[in-house]
């Protein structure tokens, strides 16, 4: 076990909720509140899942997603995007950029956990 997730979320309370939920499921959660260092952190951590907020200081979720998809080593990473800007335009943009799953805030915990499980079934290990 010991799957890892990198969570990029600038709202500390939201990040805390997600960390609590995933830790309980056995995930090792690495949280960062700033978009600019995200890519470096992800490359270093090589997590099983990346969770991205959209509106981030430094670098937006979309940009981070594009960076990931452009990187040969990281492009296969499942990315779950969570955003409070619940507009269809954003969903389309995310899908074009290659998002694995797009969720609108506020989400139900069960839904979010389902999505995480869904995305990591099999995972890199299996």
């Amino acid at each position: 076990m010991g799957k890892r997730v990198v969570l990029v979320e600038d709202e500390l309370n939201i990040a805390e909720a997600i960390r609590f939920l995933l830790s309980r499921e056995g995930w090792r959660v690495e949280t960062l509140a700033n978009g600019s260092s995200a890519l470096k952190v992800i490359r270093k951590a090589m997590p099983d899942l990346v969770m991205l907020d959209v509106m981030l200081p430094g670098r937006s979720g979309f940009e981070i997603l594009q960076d990931l998809r452009a990187d040969p080593e990281l492009q296969a990473l499942p990315v779950l995007m969570l955003t409070a800007r619940g507009q269809s335009r954003d969903r389309e943009m995310a899908e074009r950029a290659g998002v694995s799953r797009f969720m609108t805030k506020p989400f139900s915990n069960a839904e979010m956990l389902d999505a995480v499980r869904d995305l990591t079934r099999g995972g890199p290990a299996g």
Binding site: L12, A17, P57, A84, Q87, P106, F107
Partner: protein
């Protein structure tokens, strides 16, 4: 014996008959009936017979009795014109119709640039020239009446007053002319009633003269042979023809035939159809021949049979009377009466048109400054002027008759009249044949000719010592020998009539020509000149190309430039094949050129095409009309294009307005979208934490009490954040809509700052040192203290949150200047990057995130900006310096230093 009363009754009956005929004709013409007669060549020809006045009717016989065959010249002149020069008449008729000419004065003035002066001159000359002629008619009627009166006199024992009969005749004629000459005001000045009456009178006088002639030849002289024998025996047969007099008189008669106002009236103005001229060209000479047929027999027989001293001018009447042929005498009288009346009527009509159109109306319009504003009004004035002119002219004739005392032979008066109107001839002919003729030329020629006519013909006719003294006759004006009226420039031995005609007409023509050559026509004159001279060319229905000197190559080059090379080549090849010739260039036949012109017209317009083709085909002979037409088209195109320009300008403007409106709408819509999206984000973010943690609290059984408390407090904080967001949004909305109510109160700056700093620092987690100078803040003014405090709180809170410094410090300073109070908030933080300065006051702008749930939604500074606007001041960022400096600028109003630092800030607490 015929009594005078009987004569008067017959006359009245005859005149009544004429009235009826004229009236019927007018009615028929009005309804469009009877064209076959009214507009027939027969009536036209007969109406021309007003040339034969009482002078011809009575006077020709007298003329023959005195001067032998010379009377023939009076008939010869018009006949020559009709037979040989009818094309001249056709040109006149064509011009008359094309230019809607109403009289000879109108034609001449119209030709020479529509000059009113010229019209007045011609009118005056015509009146002077024709008045004796009218008097002559009155005289002849009176004379003829006198024959009856004299023969009646022994029975009555008293000779009736013949002068009054002339008056009655004049009044009757005036009445007739007024009735039928001015019944209506036609544009074309046609008078069917008058014309038909004249035609009837033409028949009457011809029949009368023929009847008398037949009676004389077969009743008195005993057949043709005896008549011829009698002629041979008489003096008339012995008279030698004077060549120069013949030529002069023939020319004079011909000129008068064209120039007499009454002839112009019937020949040109009343003409319905140009083709009538062709028939009249032989029918009218025939009529004249019939009129002259029995002149010599009557003269010879009269001289033989009547007692010596009988007036030969009245042989036509006195011969039948002397033989007791009362009926014939009556007919003869009616013939003379007809000749006189028809002449007077038409002459008066023609003159009155001229007088009213060229003298009365211009004066009327000049006097009445309003001009011809009311058309109905003016029409009435024209008719009235016409009627008064008729009365005036007949009155003039009557006066002349009374003044001259009825003296002089009929023929002499007639010739003088002819001489006067003949002066129009040079201007008339020059005007319609010579484009170089000018107004100045016409005026000088007319003046010269008329002066000479007066001096050599009219004035001498009154006899020595009447108008010109005997001395002038013998020695000339001022004793200058070359200024003798009958021997001008020292040329003596000429017949006075020949002398007068030769001098007046030749000098008239000479002066006209010379002055025309040395003067320049104005534009209207040029234009009119071209139209008059070219009247036959341009009134042809189609303008066809005849003798062509065009080069096909030139046409080809031009066509290519207009139609395009391919099209032109196809067109030319097509025509070349059609003409059956070899090669690609067709012969420039009229057909081809016309087809080409049509083709070009499709591209450049008819007039331009014609002008262009004309330049090649007809050399440089582009007519004035063509050029005018081109100018017209260009003007229209210009106007059209300027309209288009205006339209397109409008369109551009409208489009720009639409674009601006659209941009504004798009921007508004975008702003709204952004705003909604941002609100959504700001609402969803706290909601996410609330939902997530509440689910955790609900679903997790084994949760430490510590965690429970922590999660509940997070939910509480986020709920407060939501509430604050909603409060801010509502506040901003109210402020932006201008629906905010300000609670104005007098307060002191220091008090408001105290309150704000206290509020902001209550519960603050980070330390912030605030530096103030209470002395500066001792300023009182009128404002809404709560709203102002809200702004200050916001600024202090921002400094607390965002001032990144080891020892955060905020300096609040106050300055007064120019009616403003500036409160500056300067912190010692990193400041705001220049590219972000413009954004700080926009909604939902958060330049720095602390990640703290207590974060505002980014509406604080937007609210501050709105509040400051409401308070009459503003808030901005001050450039330069370290840290961030906000300046709150307040209107000082009646700011003053309050006596005590006691605000009435009841609501603050």
């Amino acid at each position: 014996m015929v009594s005078l009363n009987q004569l008067v009754i017959v006359c009245l009956t005859y005149v009544a008959g004429l009235f009826i005929v004229a009236f019927a004709a007018e009615r028929a013409a009005l309804r469009g009936h009877g064209d076959w007669l009214l507009r027939s060549p027969l009536v036209y020809t007969l109406s021309l017979s007003i040339y034969c006045t009482a002078w011809t009717f009575y006077g020709a016989v007298g003329y023959a009795a005195r001067s032998g065959l010379e009377y023939v010249t009076i008939y010869l002149g018009p006949s020559l014109i009709m037979v040989a020069w009818w094309w001249l008449l056709r040109r006149l008729v064509r011009i008359g119709r094309a230019q809607r000419v109403t009289s000879i004065a109108d034609l001449i003035s119209s030709r020479f640039g529509k000059s009113n002066l010229l019209a007045i001159v011609v009118t005056t000359m015509a009146v002077i020239g024709v008045t004796p002629y009218i008097a002559l008619q009155l005289q002849s009627v009176t004379l003829s009446l006198s024959i009856f009166a004299v023969s009646e006199a022994p029975a009555d024992g008293a000779v009736p007053d013949l002068g009054s009969s002339a008056l009655w005749v004049a009044v009757g004629l005036a009445l007739f002319t007024v009735l039928f000459g001015t019944r209506n005001l036609n544009v074309n000045e046609r008078h069917h009633g008058v014309v038909i009456a004249v035609a009837v009178e033409a028949v009457v006088k011809l029949v009368a003269l023929l009847a008398v002639g037949i009676f004389v030849v077969w009743g008195l002289a005993g057949g043709i042979e005896n008549t011829l024998a009698r002629i041979d025996a008489s003096d008339i047969g012995q008279w030698r023809v004077d060549g120069s007099r013949w030529a002069a008189l023939t020319i004079l008669a011909a000129a008068a035939f064209v120039c007499l106002p009454r002839m112009f009236q019937v020949m040109v103005v009343e003409n319905d159809d140009e083709r009538h001229l062709q028939i009249a060209s032989w029918a009218f000479p025939l009529y004249l021949m019939l009129m002259s047929l029995f002149v010599v027999p009557i003269a010879v027989t009269g001289l033989d049979l009547l007692p010596p001293g009988s007036n030969p001018d009245l042989f036509v009447l006195s011969l039948p009377l002397s033989e007791g042929q009362n009926g014939l005498a009556m007919l003869s009288f009616l013939g003379g009466f007809s000749s006189a009346t028809s002449m007077v009527i038409v002459a008066t009509l023609a003159l009155s048109t001229m007088v009213s159109n060229h003298i009365v109306m211009p004066i009327f319009l000049a006097v009445r400054q309003g001009g011809a504003s009311q058309s109905g009004d003016v029409r009435n004035v024209v008719i009235l002027a016409r009627r008064l002119s008729i009365l005036l002219i007949i009155g003039l004739g009557y006066s002349y008759y009374r003044a001259s005392g009825g003296s002089g032979a009929l023929a002499a008066i007639g010739l003088i009249s002819f001489g006067g109107v003949a002066q129009f001839l040079p201007a008339l002919l020059g005007g319609i044949f010579w484009r170089g003729a000018t107004r100045a030329g016409a005026l000088s020629g007319l003046a010269t000719g008329f002066a000479l006519w007066m001096f050599t013909m009219l004035l001498p006719s009154f006899g020595e010592g009447v108008a010109l003294s005997a001395g002038i006759f013998a020695e000339g004006v001022l004793g200058l020998g070359w200024l003798r009226p009958q021997a001008l420039f020292g040329i003596e031995g000429l017949d006075p009539t020949v002398h007068a005609v030769v001098w007046s007409l030749s000098l008239n023509a000479l002066v006209f020509g010379l002055v025309s050559i040395f003067t320049f026509p104005d534009p209207v004159e040029r234009l009119q000149g071209a139209q008059f001279v070219n009247v036959l060319d341009h009134s042809r229905p189609t303008r066809s190309w005849t003798a062509s000197v065009a080069g096909s190559e030139e046409l080809m080059i031009m066509a290519q430039r207009i139609l395009g090379a391919r099209e032109a080549q196809v067109f030319f090849r097509h025509w070349a094949q059609r003409q059956g010739g070899a090669g690609t260039l067709p012969e420039p036949t009229p057909d081809f050129v016309q087809a080409l012109e049509r083709e070009l017209a499709g591209a450049v317009g008819a007039a331009t095409a014609h002008a262009m083709v004309a330049q090649i085909v007809g050399g440089a002979s582009v007519s004035v009309q063509d050029l005018l037409a081109v100018a017209d088209e260009s003007a229209q195109m210009l106007e059209y294009s300027s309209q288009l320009e205006a339209k397109s300008r409008e369109l551009v403007e409208t489009a720009a307005q639409l674009r601006a409106a659209n941009e504004k709408l798009t921007q508004l819509s975008l702003q709204k979208d952004n705003f909604l999206s941002q609100i959504s984000h700001e609402l969803r973010t706290p909601m996410t934490s609330i939902r997530s943690f509440s689910e955790i609290l609900r679903d997790t059984d084994r949760l430490s009490a510590e965690d429970k408390t922590r999660y509940a407090s997070i939910i509480h904080t986020e709920a407060l954040r939501l509430t604050r967001l909603l409060d801010d949004l509502l506040d901003l909305s109210v402020l932006e809509n201008g629906q905010v109510t300000l609670n104005l109160a007098r307060c002191t700056l220091g008090d408001v700052l105290d309150h704000a700093v206290t509020t902001a620092q209550t519960g603050a987690t980070r330390p912030l040192t605030i530096e103030r100078d209470p002395a500066e803040e001792n300023l009182g003014f009128l404002t809404d203290p709560d709203r102002l405090a809200q702004v200050f709180i916001n600024l202090v809170t921002n400094a607390q949150k965002y001032c990144v410094s080891a020892a955060p410090r905020l300096r609040i300073s106050t300055a007064r200047h120019d009616g403003w109070i500036d409160v500056i908030f300067l912190d010692n933080g990193a400041g705001i990057a220049p590219q972000d300065r413009a954004l700080v006051f926009e909604k939902f702008t958060r330049l720095m995130r602390t990640g703290d749930a207590g974060d505002g939604a980014g509406l604080g500074l937007s609210i501050c900006r709105e509040i400051m606007t409401r308070l009459g001041g503003h808030i901005d960022l001050v450039e330069g310096g370290d840290g961030t400096a906000f300046r709150v600028r307040l209107p000082a109003g009646q700011a003053e230093a309050p006596k005590a630092r006691v605000g009435d800030m009841q609501r603050v607490g």
